[in-house]
Symmetry: C2
Subunit: 317 residues, 2 copies
């Protein structure tokens, strides 16, 4: 759906700010608590927190993260799910979110309504309150920025830092070809993330958003390198389809496409891998793959992927 | 300063994302704690909070909130101060902030560096940690969105809701003509806001950001209207200068210009106004003016401003 319209009566220009805010309250429904706990005061008020908190921010931008082929409901859902995936990657659960819109007055009211409906539905699914935001006019653009706050789900958070040489590298789900549909229809793995943070042998975690090739670098401890063989990568059917079109190898897509929104984590070398994998399988249907392990940076290993020579998605180019 | 450059070597395009993030860490310095408490993990971690928390978000957009005549240091400072003013308006104090940039790859590195230096200096002044963010490319725009989290400063927060008929209406400072310089060189009134929240007779509060004419509506209780006489408005010298250029009355500028970032609040009718004003004057140099009071909506009062016929800044038009 085209987010823009030249018909004044169908655009935000015909509403004005106060009426638009009233409409947004209606679209969000019970996901937006009454002021001052929701939209309507200088700030939104939210509850004290007994445990450590987390905060993350991610936007969706027309022409960059979505286009006319993506429904506005999916755009709204994606905006929240991108941020939820960041919380999942630390073992946190969401509390409140605010959303800031920078948009052209020619954005269509119908598009924005459907966007908020999609956002609200996703917020309901994951128990997030959308408590406030801002609307500002900007020429010829549509940028929606969501900031999500959360709190530790269990006893601890998992960070990117913490893996040691010898630790196993695991990834959930399958990788690559996300542009086909996964980049909008993925599920943020909040329960999986919280469960992994409660497993004492899991030492570090992140989500795969820029592609394994780039993201795995952030999990790799100093003096180490990942030892991962191509044949161990969980290559998605979508990556294989993308490869038939691009002429590149399916593994290339699995390593570099990005927007996988899977969890990537390290398990201590001393852990009982088989018992760990059984516990996972009893709890989750989500696929789990040990793709390799961290080895000394100087180790010579035939057949391992040369991550130093690969790169994932670069945001500015 | 022009934020954009066509010289590749001077633009963000020449840096790439990872190098840019490293630069930003350097520009922020001690305002950005080490990961996971600052930039570098999936989320930023921040402390538990024993009291109620608040959250607000506001952007600055090139061509809308600033232009080439404003220095990048001032833009960075303004972005944070706009949000701090929202916290001041509730009697809260800041804790952490995240910043999301949607920008063209032709933004100049020198501009962005100065922007972050201005942001960091302001963050240091007001004890805010800049703990994370996001950078995304967007064609021909420069949008910086800051989300600020805070916590109750004293025992309670003040909301827009709470005034009663008969209550006095007060405003800090002077109003109007903000475009001359006040919109960048204002001071967010955090101490004043916290002090007012501790005064039991202060019943409601907000900041004046869209102009008194529009904002006072939000403080007005149901069934009431503000009774404010033109001659009681604290009209700024800048509003008088603006009036000489525009041919409008100085009071028009004081009522409608917006970006005053003053505190507007109500004091209970039963309060000892003289004693209250003396306590204020002992504590603060900031000017305080009782501009009127709330009266029954049906009351007929000669010489009062007709707020129903006025409007402040409309964001979408």
């Amino acid at each position: 759906m085209n987010p823009f319209t030249r018909i004044r009566a169908k655009s935000l220009r015909s509403l004005g700010e106060n009426q638009l805010i009233d409409e947004i309250r209606g679209w969000l429904g019970d996901v937006n608590p009454p002021a001052p706990f929701g939209i309507g005061d200088d700030c939104a008020v939210f509850a004290p927190a007994k445990k450590q908190q987390v905060i993350t921010v991610d936007p969706v931008i027309f022409g960059r993260h979505f286009d006319r082929r993506i429904s506005p409901e999916q755009v709204g859902a994606k905006l929240l799910k991108r941020n939820l995936s960041d919380l999942a990657a630390m073992g946190a659960k969401p509390t409140v979110a605010v959303i800031s819109l920078a948009l052209d007055a020619q954005v269509s009211t119908a598009w924005l309504k459907a966007f908020y409906i999609g956002l609200a539905k996703t917020a309901r699914t994951y128990s997030v309150k959308i408590v406030g935001g801002d609307i500002a006019q900007a020429d010829q653009v549509l940028v929606a920025t969501l900031t999500l706050v959360g709190v530790v789900s269990g006893k601890r958070l998992l960070f990117r830092d913490g893996a040691k040489i010898g630790d196993s590298i695991y990834v959930t789900g399958q990788l690559g070809g996300s542009l086909e549909s996964h980049h909008v229809d993925f599920t943020p793995l909040l329960e999986e993330g919280a469960w992994l943070a409660a497993e004492k042998d899991v030492r570090s975690m992140m989500d795969v958003s820029d592609g394994l090739a780039k993201d795995l670098r952030s999990l790799t401890p100093r003096g180490a390198k990942p030892c991962v063989r191509l044949e161990h990568l969980p290559v998605s059917p979508a990556a294989r389809r993308a490869a038939r079109r691009s002429g590149k190898a399916p593994a290339h897509h699995a390593l570099s496409d990005g927007e996988d929104y899977q969890l990537l984590f390290s398990l201590a070398a001393s852990a009982n891998r088989a018992a760990f994998e059984r516990r996972w399988a009893r709890k989750f249907k989500t696929r789990l793959t040990q793709i390799g392990l961290f080895v000394d940076a100087d180790a010579k290993i035939d057949g391992a992927i040369d991550f130093a020579a690969l790169s994932g998605y670069e945001h500015l180019r």
